[in-house]
């Protein structure tokens, strides 16, 4: 069971309080009705599924109930950082310079 830092509760909480919500930073197109079939496929089905650093969404569903974003290594399952929903994808990750 992972330990996840909720950026709203400002502390680490057990995974049982959270629900993963898939890849992050895939914005719903503002004029979605006008998207092509290809673009809709990319938006709705295609996923990065990286072996390494993933940007993903979580919801602290049994806690503060907020959605937020996390950066995690999918090989070690270690979290690099978490940040609030709506904040931009971090340009640089902590410890990435090393």
């Amino acid at each position: 069971m992972l330990l996840i830092r909720c950026p709203y509760c400002e502390e680490e909480r057990p995974e049982l309080e959270f629900r993963n919500a898939g890849e992050a930073h895939i914005a719903r197109p503002t004029n979605i009705a006008a998207e092509s079939d290809d673009d809709f496929e990319k938006f709705f089905f295609i996923r990065a599924n990286p072996k390494g650093v993933i940007y993903e969404r979580w919801r602290h569903i049994h806690g503060c109930a907020r959605f937020f974003n996390a950066v995690r290594d999918t090989v070690t399952d270690k979290f690099v950082m978490t940040y609030k929903a709506g904040e931009p994808k971090p340009a640089k990750l902590p410890g990435a310079a090393k």
Partner: protein, 997 residues
């Protein structure tokens, strides 16, 4: 009674406290504090089990959790039979009953032992190469025989009356292992004031101090020091000391699973005491102090009862006061067996000879053994053990060959060296490293905030171990926020130290030999099996392991893995690290399902949700059905009625008079805020902005891919407030779906969602008399058709309590849904029931609800739709706002396949024979004469006998269904084909006049 092999003056048990027990129906006496193993050995019993494949007689190899051989069935009573219990771990209690396993008719005479004679046929992986002809014989002949022969103990036959507890715990420093290292680390950490948990699998703390007679710490004998230190730790508020507790799994982020055996050692545990308790511990730092496990020597017939690890014999003597024999041989490749020989000799046991593979070792223990007059043979090997049900001799030869001699013995103690217990470190995803000099795997790269200390870290010697452990404990505590404590590092006055030894087959069992020199005892894997696997192309240790099953028995290779690896490496001509080490997987030792499950059994397996009127329905004799977590009243049979009769009566009564139905389980969400209507526009296909306050609308929710996700009636209570209903099963995921969009896609909207499913009990009152039933109880609401038309909602009072009163219908009749605060639900129901009785109304359940809605062609999401159905498919295009430019699902709906011709559409079906009721799920074809496989064009989604229509009715998804009105289609069933006609979906009151009737 004093057992034959109990040595007076030896051991730590109080001889006064005896306990009687039975093994294979024979009674014995032991002492409290014994394990079953020590008690049997005290009585001279070595033969306790049979091996898996060859059914060879087996005794005790060890005195601990690594035991591969001595597995027994413990029987407390009829329902408390536990298979595969290690006799070396099971503590004795008065009245314990144990039986041997995997033998017939008896342990001493086991028919299955014929396998041993035929063993050349049963080489590694033999079953992959045969049993293939004739083809049918595998299933009917060979496999049943193999299955019956396999397996060790027997499953319990009755539900387990014991219960299991569970607990989450947090600490700064978790110390795993309570030997000298673990205790030293715990002492250091505890002094800093942080929370410390110290756990050990044994009943008593001390680890190897239990047998190391030479250890002295802080001026005391080692074991006594350990007991004093534990007493000190137990007295501290910040420390929890757990004995009989095995850390079995090391998970991500220092989350460790431990099982505490609470009552298996007690004579009468009592009802309140759990059998076991699961601890799930989150630790800031973990100190791993799990010690090392002695390895056996791999030589011919090394599995004979009486052949055991030297440290085990020492434990039996020094802790339990039991001699494992009277005339004992010793076979070793390192120093540690000497200490066993010395202790036994001093206790009066004859040591027939020590056989040491090494050419010219020297050291104080060797000198001491020699001084005691023990015969020592250097550079020699034991090439075979004699005897069958008990070892009777050992054959000794020069290790490079040459003439040998046979020495009579009744036990052989062996030691090939010690394997660090890196299991938990490895489970933490740390990477082990092979030390070429000491030829062992030790912790290399760490992946988590933990540290290994002592023997499991490859640290030799008590002094070095305590130093290292104490420092590690202090450091871990400091890193976890502990304050500097006063240092009280234990001082080691004397300790034992040994290292080295050998890996792989001993002389006489090496390449080219075919003797049975066991590597894995329980699974009967010999050195030659491993070599054969390599010959057959198994070059990875994982292949070798799987092909031979080495290390896959219940002891998980604690004694066999390293030998197996070394033999494979030798055969491949590669260094050990290049052949690899199999990964260690949880659990460290087997753990019961019960301990993992904990409280989650029976009523606590899953929450059972009941509505406010559940008690009333139960008293009326309702039959309930499971819908998600809910129990819902299914139908209300009167005396003598079966389900069919009850449902027919309920259906007719509702349309004729009226009925009451508990709709409380439907999900309810209050959507509040100035942007509430805008939000509804985006989440549902329907338009909402123009819905007037006080009016309701049936809404459809899609997923982004365009398929129907949920539906329900929505009432507008105020310009900024909607009362949304969802399906029963859909409630949680609809809420999550809405929150997801609100928080992440439409966060600019000022609107909030609150689940009110359980705030309101909902009583549907349906039927021509529904208004007459409700009206007398209502205050402050105009109940006329003008004042409260179909699809409207009003707030007021009923029975003196607040209500949200909906006028809506899922039956096609005039209908209402009375929402009242849940605690009032049952009392209001009773009041409505009393009114209803005046008119002859009925209570009805979910089955009647289903029939009545099907008569009207109303769909049930999840039954008539299945996640692949669009609004158009379901005939609900009218509910999709044509002018809307956005809602969830708008783009998915226009994908090529979703607008293609020939999609399955929801239609009605009437059987040609009105008495025939189709089966839900039955498949539909256009041509009944075609051969199998048939082209199926649809299936029946809902089907009922409609007493109101006097015939059966059905809904179905049929390819191009709306273009097939009036067509005859076919439903092929096992006992004949049923003809059906495609119809519209409304079977009752097509014009909808009854809504106001």
């Amino acid at each position: 009674m004093n057992a034959m092999f109990r040595i007076s003056g030896a051991g730590r048990l109080s001889q006064a406290k005896t306990a009687s027990f039975s093994f294979d129906d024979k009674s014995y006496t032991g002492i409290e504090g014994d394990t079953l193993a020590s008690a049997l050995l005290a009585n001279g019993v070595h033969l306790v089990g049979r091996s898996f494949k060859y059914h060879r007689p087996r005794g005790f190899l060890s005195a601990g959790a690594e035991e591969p051989n001595a597995l027994v069935q413990i029987v407390r009573d009829d329902a408390r039979k536990t298979p595969n219990v290690r006799a070396t771990v099971q503590e004795l209690y008065d009245g314990l009953t144990a039986n041997s396993q995997n033998r017939w008719p008896s342990l001493a005479f086991d028919v299955g032992a014929v396998n041993d004679l035929a063993s050349p046929m049963f080489s590694a992986g033999f079953y992959y190469k045969t049993f293939m002809w004739p083809k049918w014989a595998w299933k009917d002949l060979y496999e049943p025989k193999i299955r019956a022969a396999a397996g060790l103990g027997v499953s319990p036959e009755k539900p387990d009356p014991d219960h299991y507890a569970a607990r989450y715990a947090h600490c700064e420093v978790l110390v795993l292992g309570g030997g000298a290292a673990g205790i030293a680390a715990a002492l250091a950490a505890a002094e800093t004031g942080v929370r410390v948990i110290l756990a050990d699998e044994q009943a008593e703390f001390g680890g190897s101090l239990r047998f190391e007679s030479g250890a002295r710490i802080d001026g005391q004998q080692g074991y006594a020091w350990a007991q004093g230190a534990i007493a000190k730790l137990k007295a501290m508020d910040n420390v929890r000391v757990l004995s009989r507790t095995t850390a079995f799994g090391y998970y991500a982020q220092n989350f460790v699973g431990l099982v505490e055996r609470v009552s298996d050692h007690l004579k009468s545990p009592g009802r309140d005491l759990a059998r076991e308790r699961l601890w799930q511990v989150r630790a800031n730092r973990v100190v791993i102090a799990t010690g090392a496990i002695e390895r056996h020597m791999v030589f011919a017939n090394n599995d004979r009862p009486g052949v055991m690890l030297a440290s085990a014999a020492r434990t039996y003597l020094n802790h339990y006061g039991v001699a494992v024999g009277r005339n004992v041989g010793v076979y070793t490749a390192n120093d540690s067996a000497y200490a066993a020989a010395i202790d036994l000799k001093k206790a009066g046991v004859n040591i027939a000879a020590i056989v040491d593979l090494r050419d010219n070792p020297s050291g104080p223990v060797i000198d001491e053994a020699r001084a005691l007059g023990i015969e020592i043979n250097f550079g020699r090997a034991v090439v075979s053990a004699g005897g069958k049900l008990r070892v009777s001799s050992m054959t000794v030869q020069p290790k490079n060959g040459g003439g040998g001699r046979t020495i009579p013995v009744d036990a052989i103690l062996m030691s090939a060296g010690w394997t660090p217990s890196v299991h938990l470190f490895s489970q933490s995803r740390g990477k082990v490293a092979f030390n070429d000099e000491t030829r062992r795997f030790v912790p290399g790269t760490y992946a988590q905030d933990c540290i290994s200390v002592g023997a499991c870290n490859g640290t030799d010697g008590l002094d070095a171990t305590v130093d290292e452990a104490y420092a590690a404990g202090a450091k871990a505590a400091k890193e976890a926020g502990g304050k500097a404590g006063k240092s009280a590092k234990p001082k080691v006055d004397a300790g034992e130290s040994w290292s080295r030894g050998m890996l792989g087959a001993a002389p006489g069992a090496g390449p080219g030999t075919t003797v049975k020199a066991f590597v894995d005892f329980q699974n009967d894997v010999t050195a030659k099996d491993i070599r054969q696997a390599v010959h057959e192309g198994m070059h990875s240790i994982e292949h070798v392991k799987r092909f031979t099953t080495n290390g896959m028995a219940t002891d998980q290779g604690k004694t066999s893995n390293m030998h197996g690896l070394a033999i494979a490496a030798e055969e491949l001509g590669k260094p050990i690290p290049q052949v690899g080490l199999t990964t260690f997987r949880a659990p460290y030792t087997p753990v019961t399902f019960g301990s993992i499950v904990g409280h989650a059994r029976g009523a606590l397996f899953d929450p059972t949700r009941r509505t406010a009127t559940h008690g009333w329905a139960a008293r009326q004799g309702a039959v309930f059905e499971d819908v998600g977590h809910w129990k819902r009243a299914w139908y209300f049979p009167k005396a003598g009625e079966d389900m069919h009769a009850a449902v027919n009566r309920e259906c007719v009564t509702v349309r004729k008079v009226g009925g009451l139905f508990d709709a409380s389980t439907l999900g309810k969400i209050e959507v509040v805020g100035p942007d509430a209507a805008k939000f509804m526009e985006l989440l549902y296909t329907n338009p909402w902005e123009k819905l007037e306050t006080g009016r309701c609308r049936y809404g459809i929710m899609l997923r982004e891919d365009g398929f129907i996700y949920d539906d329900g009636v929505v009432g507008r209570l105020a310009p900024d407030r909607f009362h949304v209903t969802t399906t029963t099963g859909g409630a949680p995921r609809v809420m999550n779906h809405m929150e997801d969009y609100l928080q992440t896609e439409f966060p600019h909207l000022n609107v909030w969602l609150t689940s009110i499913t359980e705030q309101w009990a909902v009583i549907a009152v349906q039927g021509p008399k529904s208004r007459d039933i409700i009206a007398p109880l209502v205050e402050g609401i105009d109940m006329s058709d003008e004042g409260m038309p179909h699809m409207s909602v009003r707030e007021g009072k009923i029975c003196g309590v607040p209500t949200r009163l909906f006028r809506m219908s899922f039956t096609g009749e005039r209908g209402f849904e009375v929402n009242v605060p849940a605690d009032y639900g049952e009392a209001v129901w009773e009041a409505l029931w009393a009114e209803g009785q005046k008119h002859g109304a009925t209570a009805y359940g979910t089955e009647t609800m289903h029939v009545l809605r099907a008569e009207k062609g109303y769909i049930i999401v999840g039954q008539d739709t299945d996640g692949t159905v669009t609004p158009n498919d379901a005939g609900l295009d009218w509910a999709v706002g044509k002018k809307k430019t956005d809602f969830v699902g708008i783009r998915g709906l226009t994908r090529p396949d979703l607008v293609a011709k020939g999609r399955k559409q929801l239609v009605g079906l009437k059987t040609k024979d009105p008495k025939v009721v189709l089966e839900e799920g039955a498949q539909i074809v256009a041509d009944p004469k075609q051969p199998i496989p048939m082209k199926m064009i649809g299936h029946v989604t809902s089907s009922y006998w409609s007493e109101n229509c006097g015939r059966s009715i059905a809904l179905a998804l049929v390819a191009g269904g709306r273009d097939r009105m009036g067509q005859t289609l076919y439903v092929p069933m096992p006992n004949g084909t049923i003809e059906v006609e495609v119809t519209g979906m409304v079977f009752v009151d097509e014009k909808g006049e009854r809504l106001n009737g």
